[in-house]
Every structure is written in C-alpha cells, then in structure tokens.
C-alpha cells in the first residue's frame, strides 16, 4: 500500500513540530558569564603565564565532540533535555541548569539526587568538593571515580539526526510527489536537481555491482547515500542548524556499518557461505582459510565505520587546527595565512563529503553484490 500521500500532508507539520521542539528549550544567556569573567581575571592575576596558554588539541577535540547543549553565539546556548536513568528511576531536566559548567563545579539537584557534568559526562555528585572545588573524586591519572547514571539525553547529535531526518523527508517527499504528479513528463524544481544524483546511485553504484537484482537494494543504497551526504554537509555548516559532527561520531558510523553487515549476511546465498566455510582448496588449508574468511566477514563493516568516522573527523580537526593557529601564535596576522587555508580545506571537505558518501555506498553495494553473486 502506498502511504506516501499521508506523510506528504504531514511533512510541513513535522517541520513545525521540530521547530517548536527546539524553541521549547529556551535560549538563555549564561547567567554565570559575569562570574566567569571575574574568576578568569582572578586566575590571570594568580598565574598569568599558565592561564594564557592555548591548548590546540583540547580545543579541536572539544569542538568535534557531542555536547549536552547547543551553542548559538557568544554566551547563548540552547539547552537540550537531559534524560537520566538513575537508581531510582528516570530524571529529566534542561541542560541549561548546569549553566555551561563542564568542570563539575555546579551541582544540579533533581529527583532527590545530585548530578554534576564534567567533560560532557554526567556523574553523581560527591558530597563534598575536592581541592579544585569539583564535586567529583579524581584518581592519580585524572580519571573521575564517581558513578554515572545511564545517559539517554537528547544531545546535539540526536537533534541533528532528527533535523536531517526532517530535511531528507521534506526533500524526498517533494521529489516523489513530483514524479506522481508529472508522470512521464520532464522533472521540475527540486526534482530536476535530485534526479541526476538518484540516477548516479542507480547507474554507477547499484547496477555495476549488484547486476540484475539491483532493484531490491536501491532503497537501502539511496537511504544510506543521502543520509551520509546530507549529514556530512550539515556537519560542515559551522553555525546553528549544523555544527554537530554526526558522521564524525563513531557510534553513528558503527550503526550504519552494522546495517550493511546485516544486509550482506541476510542476503548472502549458499555460494557466499560455501566460499567462507568450504572453499575449493585442499582440506588442510581450511585451518588457515576458514578463520581468515570468518574474520573477513567482520573486518568489512569495521573498515566501513572507521573510514567514514576518521575521514570526517580528520577534516574537522584540520579546519579547527588551522583556525586555532591564530590563538596559538596569539597574533591576528597569522589569520592572513590560516583563514584562506581553512577556506581551501573547507572546499576540499565539500568534495570529501560527497566522496565518503559515495565510497560507503559503493562498498556496501560491492559487498552485497559479492554475497548474492550466483556461481558460474
């Protein structure tokens, strides 16, 4: 049954709901901004040299990581919901209650429990602060020893995931509707922009690798291609609707690779399994070959996941490192070199965003094609 007309009426409503949903978590200026400045000046007086030093690695890794709040501009943050499964049940509150504290200095009391946030992880707070006024116990290697509740928060990445779902739904329902309305006629508007890309996935990715059975796998390949591509592009937008690094998050890429893994192994025919367990070699070679083939089943999706994750992460770190050079040298003149170079890398990243989506999809198609190949 074709249900797309139902969604079509609702797509605008989905967009409105998502906008309201974000608006719900009010944008609040950090009340503690002033206090922070005071604290910073005090610290600067106490140890003028050490405080000024800019840590490039920490800066870059902080910006590519997931976060409990969404930075808008300056001291403005969108607070996202924090949902914790604690020993006594579910606890939910707005992440702005932490007032952007990320060093476990501010305790939030909810549902009879006390929480602190340190380096984007939420812990049960200690009863008394330690010598750095942090409500956590730290061991010799600076690892936090406090227990953690299960964190089901709507983080920045989750919101971006939902946003990209809305964008992809809006685009593709529009395109699908266009084909229904103008069946047999030339495409129009958004449809004519998407058609060559969909045709590219079909003719250059699916057909050469999957043969005549390609139609069964088109929905998966198209979904994966456009999901990765759209999210790569959203990740390159440095301000609000983008800014989250979704495809540079190992959990997201591992889920995508797991889907490919399932697609390969559920569609694998008897020749695929025969090739793994009883290949056409002398029996004593099985001792070596069968373990290698079994490892091979798992290394394919692992390589897919790590390739996408590492490519996107490396690109983001590169841009951040170039911008960070200005602060490392503490001179505005460095920007004459680093900003054009960052722009150049940004342009390359646009290409990489497409190539990585393409590579992930074509390798998925290739592996599925190998699994469904008939024996000659």
């Amino acid at each position: 049954m074709d249900c797309s007309h139902v969604f079509d009426l609702k797509v605008n409503r989905i967009i409105v709901v998502f906008a309201l949903f974000l608006a719900l978590f009010s944008v609040t200026p950090s009340l503690y901004a002033q206090e922070d400045t005071v604290k910073a000046t005090e610290a600067a007086h106490a140890e003028p040299e050490a405080e000024k030093k800019f840590n490039l690695g920490k800066f870059a890794l902080h910006h590519i990581a997931d976060s409990h709040s969404w930075h808008v501009i300056g001291d403005y943050f969108i607070g996202l919901p924090v949902v914790l499964y604690t020993n006594t049940g579910l606890v939910a509150f707005n992440s702005n209650e932490f007032h952007q504290d990320d060093e476990a200095e501010l305790v939030v009391e909810k549902g009879g429990q006390r929480f602190v946030k340190m380096h984007e992880k939420i812990y049960y707070a200690s009863v008394t602060p330690n010598e750095h006024e942090q409500f956590v116990d730290v061991d010799a290697e600076h690892h936090v020893k406090n227990a953690r509740p299960l964190d089901f928060s709507m983080t920045k990445n989750v919101c971006t995931l939902l946003l990209s779902v809305v964008v992809i739904l809006a685009v593709f329902l529009n395109v699908a509707n266009g084909y229904k309305k103008r069946a047999g006629k030339s495409p129009k508007g958004l449809q004519s922009w998407m058609e060559p890309i969909i045709m590219f996935v079909r003719d250059d990715i699916a057909k050469p690798n999957l043969g005549h059975k390609y139609e069964r796998f088109m929905p998966y390949l198209l979904t994966v291609f456009f999901f990765i591509w759209f999210n790569n592009m959203l990740g390159l937008v440095p301000f609000l609707p983008g800014g989250a690094n979704l495809t540079g998050n190992i959990s997201v890429t591992v889920v995508l690779a797991t889907l490919t893994f399932l697609m390969i192994n559920f569609n694998g025919n008897k020749y695929y399994w025969k090739h793994i367990f009883t290949p056409d070699v002398p029996w004593w070679l099985y001792i070596v070959l069968v373990p290698v083939e079994i490892i091979g089943i798992f290394t394919k999706p692992i390589a897919l996941a790590i390739r996408l994750f590492a490519n996107i992460t490396a690109g983001h770190i590169l841009v951040l490192a170039l911008i960070g050079l200005i602060f490392v040298f503490n001179s505005v003149f460095v920007s004459f070199v680093s900003v054009p170079f960052a722009l150049f890398i940004g342009a390359i990243e646009l290409l990489v965003a497409f190539i990585q989506a393409f590579i992930f999809t074509i390798l998925s198609a290739l592996f599925i094609g190998m699994a469904i190949e008939e024996h000659h």
Binding site: P208, A303, I306, R307, A310, N311, I355, L363
Partner: protein, 67 residues
C-alpha cells in the same frame, strides 16, 4: 610527552605510506585514462575504491596513534 611524540611519528609514517599508495593509484589511473579516454568513468570509480582502501589503512594508523 615522549609518548605523544612517538604517536606523532607513527601518524607521520602512516601519512607517508598512504601518500605513496594513493600517488601510485592516481598516476596509474591517469595513464590508463590517457591510453583509453573512453574508459575514464570506469577507471575513476575503480581508482576511488582502491584509494579508499589505501586511505582506510592510513586512517587506522592515525586512529591508533591518537588512542
């Protein structure tokens, strides 16, 4: 301090290896396209796939170096 430097050397070596690998793939693909311009699109696809495999090895090394 020392571990950080050694990891950086490892990442650099991985970059050298991947650079050589991808350079070889690119040059061979160029030669192939120059000989048979009509097969350019097929060669390009194969080139990208091969480059992706080489790159993956380098990125494994970088991830290991970072960890």
């Amino acid at each position: 301090m020392i571990t950080g430097s050694i990891a950086a050397i490892g990442a650099g070596l991985a970059a050298i290896g991947a650079g050589m690998g991808i350079g070889k793939i690119g040059s061979s693909a160029m030669e192939g396209i120059a000989r048979q311009p009509e097969a350019a699109s097929k060669i390009q696809t194969a080139m990208l796939i091969a480059a992706a495999f080489v790159e993956a090895v380098a990125l494994f090394a970088v991830v290991v170096a970072l960890v």
